[in-house]
Symmetry: C2
């Protein structure tokens, strides 16, 4: 891994490369060219080579890339070659669906606890998970310490999001995946990734709407 700062778009694409490579692996492809990868992802071959070149020389001229090796390398770059303990706040519709989502575990993210502010929900088990029960928000700091938590998912209503974010950050969490439709204001050292479901539809509305 080189010392230079990596362009943000490159990091985003790295995840897509990994996803595609894993699919290729499952269908028994053991080598792939930047051109093939580009086709599948609707990017350019040069871009993929540039992106990978930020981190080293992974390919064989004339041959392409070794799928298994590249998977290992990208996982290492992204930091997903180990297990991350993750915690989730907000046991509403979305929160419980996310708790039961298998895709996280497949990528090495293990959900260790779910929290909700509603005392009526505390203690209730979450369907579709092995043995998770809803905990009180007050237990967050202890859980963060106990399980070395660095990442958390925020799936609470807009009004509660900023407060929850502050609790998490002051407990020591370093990255937040935010589903609340609000821009969180936290220390700049904390990484934030946001998914606003309505915003996604608005983008489509714009693109489709400007067509007849």
């Amino acid at each position: 891994m080189k010392p230079t700062s990596i362009p943000d778009p490159t990091v985003r694409r790295l995840s897509l490369y990994l996803r595609e490579l894993e699919t290729l692996w499952r269908s028994d492809h053991r080598t792939v060219s930047s051109r093939k990868l580009a086709q599948a992802l609707k990017l350019t071959a040069t871009q993929i080579r540039k992106d990978l070149a930020y981190f080293g020389q992974f390919g064989q001229r004339g041959i392409g890339y070794d799928v298994g090796e590249l998977i290992t390398k990208i996982r290492h770059i992204l930091g997903t070659d180990r297990t991350w303990n993750v915690l989730l706040v907000g046991a509403g519709n979305l929160g419980t669906a996310l708790s039961a989502y298998r895709g996280f575990a497949k990528k090495g993210f293990r959900l260790v606890a779910v929290f909700d502010a509603d005392p009526g929900k505390v203690g209730r088990p979450i369907a579709g998970t092995d043995d998770l029960t809803i905990r009180s928000i007050d237990d967050i700091p202890a859980m963060v310490r106990e399980h070395d938590i660095r990442l958390a998912i925020v799936a609470v209503p807009q009004e509660a999001a900023q407060t929850v974010a502050e609790v998490l950050v002051s407990a020591g969490v370093r990255g937040l995946l935010n589903f609340a439709p609000v821009s969180l204001d936290v220390d700049a050292a904390v990484a934030i990734s946001s998914v606003d479901l309505a915003v996604q539809l608005e983008q489509l509305s714009f693109q489709v709407g400007s067509q007849p």
Copy 2:
């Protein structure tokens, strides 16, 4: 609205401006400067002014922007000043959570039907919605025609996503919001917006991981 092609990043930010403006409106702010807006969203004031200038002159020098007016204008630009009928495929964990999500309706997106391939699920009502029941995938074309559907949400497992996308597109859908962890291959005229939940966490892993 000008004829020039709008930068993609600008369109993405437009949604954020709208969200922030709606929050300001609820807290009784009736005017706002680009600097205030920039602070809240962690952007630069110039960028906001440039973005808005693509579409016209909405501000008052010395004063700022009228919150209500700007909301109206941005909604018009995004095409959300009308109701969009939307359809959702995949009544698993995530799909049912999305069906019950109130945020879509607030932004003018009305979910009119939910589909699933599992015959055992067809006919079952969806909790948290008024009167939606799960329908057979075969009914998609009829529903698209009947309700003038242009946007659809894909919340099916990876293996099913490409097929579902093709069914939707050939039925006439113009934009897809895809939650399956796969890159969909459809006609270039179809707008696609993708949310891969695991990818979001990977991005955080990278950012947090490169810190000590």
